[in-house]
């Protein structure tokens, strides 16, 4: 009897906690159903679509025949604040727009062993559109796409693997180049920094473009802005934290270390490992800024870092995943194409200047605009990062 009472007490506490949080949460889930899988605060519900993404937004009035969607993450899990999270957010957007049936299946992988059974599970559950997230799933996707030609597939961060597979790839170094130029233009110390989680192409492509952008600035303006953490000539030796877990003190230490060397504009690449850097900038009282990656940081990141974002290098995983599903639902599947997101097609871009808008001079803004245009037109080009399988 006594024991039951204790169990009941635990239940009661749980109910209380959920009730306390439930209200705010309920709102979020009803009004912007699924759209903000990674937001943590109501303050961010205001979904301003960024400049670069404007032209790509799909109208919700389209006529869809909702498809059953299944989403398989790689071993980082859905909660990675990176490509898995963005892809899943895209799926939920597709649900909201009516392109995907409600309650899409989410399968989180714990290891490479899980990929095949998860894909098989998707098929067994009758999924019509399977989104596989990350290059680690490429070979599995290729194999099953071939044997299941009726199913439509979308793979994130990899090229198309067959007539029924839409590959989503991103030439993010194009936008990062512009962001590097911008950072070099606003730095007051003449030093900018970048670091990543681990040295893999989806991470280092940002750092590479960024460093090249800074170099371009130096070349054009005869300046000598220094980049810490990445040298395009020595891509093995970039500064990495070794973890994507922002709570590991090494992340804070890495950022602080760069701040100590005088960096004031920072580009941390990988999940939420930019947050400790924001903390470091704030607690040091440095007049510095962060460059966000993937989804617009102003929306994706906690409010306390709001005034730190210079710009975000956007990678349109969320929107492109949504569009890939929508194309399928509209009867025109985009399979067989590798959608290499770049500045030209708008799937990669720079966000608005948010908090640092006033700090960016009109000339600099114009120069950045021009650089974006020049990259699009091919007037500025360089030995770009090879994306995907090559």
């Amino acid at each position: 009897m006594k024991r039951q009472m204790r169990f009941f007490a635990i239940f009661a506490v749980f109910a209380l906690v959920l009730a306390a949080c439930g209200d705010g949460e309920g709102e979020a889930t009803t009004t912007t159903e699924g759209a903000e899988a990674t937001t943590t605060s109501e303050a961010m519900d205001d979904t301003t679509t960024s400049e670069a993404m404007d032209d790509t937004t799909t109208t919700e009035a389209m006529d869809f025949e909702a498809v059953k969607v299944c989403f398989v993450t790689d071993d980082a899990g859905v909660d990675d604040r990176s490509f898995n999270a963005s892809g899943w957010a895209g799926v939920q957007d597709a649900v909201a727009s009516g392109a995907a049936q409600p309650d899409p299946i989410l399968l989180e992988s714990a290891s490479a062993e899980d990929y095949q059974p998860h894909v098989e599970t998707c098929l067994a559950q009758g999924a019509e559109h399977i989104v596989t997230s990350g290059f680690k799933l490429a070979d599995t996707t290729a194999a099953f796409a071939e044997t299941n030609p009726d199913v439509q597939w979308t793979i994130i961060d990899f090229g198309s693997l067959g007539p029924n597979v839409t590959g989503l790839e991103y030439q993010t170094d194009e936008a990062a180049f512009a962001a590097g130029y911008l950072a070099a233009g606003v730095t007051q110390t003449g030093i900018v920094g970048t670091y990543g989680g681990v040295n893999i192409p989806t991470v280092s492509i940002f750092m590479d473009g960024f460093a090249r952008g800074v170099a371009h600035y130096n070349e054009v303006n005869g300046a000598s802005v220094q980049v810490l953490g990445w040298d395009p000539a020595d891509p093995d030796a970039g500064v990495m934290t070794g973890v994507f877990d922002p709570a590991d003190p090494i992340v804070t230490a890495t950022c602080e270390s760069m701040l100590d060397e005088g960096a004031d504009i920072m580009l941390p690449v990988g999940g939420a490992i930019n947050l400790p850097c924001g903390t470091a900038i704030q607690s040091r009282g440095i007049d510095g800024a962060l460059v966000g990656v993937d989804a617009d940081a102003v929306e994706a990141m906690p409010a306390e870092y709001m005034d730190l974002w210079l710009v975000t290098i956007e990678k349109g995983i969320q929107i492109q995943t949504q569009r890939s599903i929508e194309a399928h639902a509209a009867g025109e599947p985009s399979g067989g194409t590798s959608l290499v997101g770049n500045l030209e097609n708008g799937a990669v871009g720079l966000s608005e200047y948010h908090a640092w808008e006033d700090r960016v001079s009109d000339e600099l803004a114009a120069e950045v605009e021009q650089i974006l245009e020049d990259i699009k037109s091919g007037a500025i080009t360089w030995d770009k990062f090879v994306v995907g399988a090559g």
């Binding site: 009730a19 399968l107 599970t121 290059f135 681990v198 090879v386």
Partner: protein, 406 residues
């Protein structure tokens, strides 16, 4: 040293009239009464399922949201969630040919790594380094699988042996350090795990393994001749790795209980000073045990690189195997046959867990919880006895290791 905490003075105990069926049975630790062998694990499993059900219910957020308005319906939802989860867990583990294939496939590396940890325990060493040894062994096998051109009949054995050597070196390193410098294997194996993981990350980006022209850290496809052949065709993942695992079980059984070196391992495990007295070379034994243990982990690495479709390798092929291996070695009481059964159990739970995740939204993490609960109930028979009010087992508590053995 003075005696601490010894029970009754052994001098006051007469010869115990316990009788077993033969010398071998006793030496090998088998031949326990069937009831004891089955009852306790069964009760442990039942308890783990009960606690798991409780956890599923408590974490059912949607049901809790309904709790205020319609408590009964919410409770029904919760129970339904438990039912669906467990049904799918079972179906995913045993419900079809595919499920059985998945169970056996998933068990394969678990059994091998579990044997690795068990061998260590038997010799009084705690090998937490299965993860690192899987990495190194797997990479050795991968290299052979990519670059050595041989017919399958030779290619697979060569690759597998390479994996054993690679894993063995990585494990033996920890053993050697312990033997020569006294550095504790718990520390060194953990550190070597990190080193191996970072090394894997790096080496997969080099031309040694990468496909030409590729930039992503993923190996080229392994040559057909090195892939572990599947048993029931390519639609099922189960491959000859399971036979390797079963062969390893018998091999480890033979090593531990029929060979002279196994006698030495066990003697050193129970009493290093007695084995020194008996003229055994304890320093050599530490290295040998860790080499063997590492070689077994290396085998698990081989099945992860040579036997895992789509036969290209990315950085985290060791997964949680090294971690699970500790629990299942404990569950199997460090006996090869025990490891076999607990490996199959864990394989079933994990394979079923994948299906459960899809159908019931309960992630495979529940399986980790259940694994730990099963281990604890097995290790604390008194606890089970108290809960079920039965005389579950007369088992003496298992003493796995003897402190830090400085």
């Amino acid at each position: 040293m003075t005696d601490q905490g010894t029970q009754s003075p052994p001098d006051e105990r007469p010869p115990n009239g316990r009788s077993f069926d033969g010398v071998m049975d006793r030496i090998a630790g088998i031949g326990e009464p069937i009831r004891r062998a089955l009852l306790l694990p069964t009760l442990a499993l039942v308890l783990a399922l009960v606690v798991g059900a409780f956890i599923i219910m408590v974490t059912d957020v949607d049901a809790w949201r309904r709790m205020g308005d319609e408590p009964l319906a919410a409770l029904g939802d919760m129970l339904d969630g438990v039912w669906v989860a467990y049904r799918e867990l079972f179906i995913g583990a045993f419900g079809s040919v595919r499920a059985l294939s998945e169970t056996l496939f998933t068990s394969t590396p678990l059994i091998l790594a579990g044997l690795a940890v068990a061998v260590g325990f038997r010799a009084g060493l705690f090998n937490i380094g299965a993860r690192g040894q899987i990495f190194v062994g797997g990479l050795f096998a991968l290299w052979v699988g990519l670059h050595v051109d041989l017919p399958a009949i030779l290619h697979i054995p060569v690759a597998v042996i390479a994996a054993m050597i690679g894993g063995g070196i990585w494990g033996g390193l920890a053993g050697l350090l312990k033997a020569r410098t006294g550095a504790h294997e718990v520390i060194t194996t953990i550190m070597l795990n990190f080193v191996a993981a970072f090394f894997t990350l790096w080496v997969l980006k080099t031309s040694v393994f990468q496909e030409e022209g590729s930039t992503i850290p993923k190996s080229a496809p392994i040559l057909e001749s090195a892939r572990l052949p599947t048993i029931f065709g390519s639609q099922y993942r189960i491959n000859i790795g399971i036979f390797i695992a079963i062969a390893a079980v018998f091999f480890v059984y033979w090593i531990l209980f029929r060979s002279t070196i196994g006698f030495e391992f066990r003697a050193a495990g129970f009493s290093p000073s007695a084995s020194l007295y008996a003229g055994m070379n304890v320093a050599f034994l530490y290295t040998a045990v860790m080499f063997l243990s590492g070689a077994l982990s290396g085998l698990a690495g081989a099945t992860q690189t040579l036997g895992l479709p789509p036969y290209t390798v990315t950085d985290n092929f060791a997964g949680n195997i090294g971690f699970d291996a500790i629990a299942l070695a404990l569950l199997g009481r460090s006996h090869p046959f025990g490891v076999l059964w607990s490996g199959l159990l864990f394989g079933a739970l994990i394979a079923g867990g994948r299906v459960m995740q899809a159908a019931a939204g309960v992630t495979v993490d529940l399986v980790i919880v259940m694994q730990s609960l099963i281990v604890i109930f097995i290790a604390a028979p008194e606890l089970v006895r108290a809960i079920f009010k039965v005389k579950a087992a007369e088992a003496e508590p298992t003493q796995v290791t003897t402190g830090w053995g400085a």
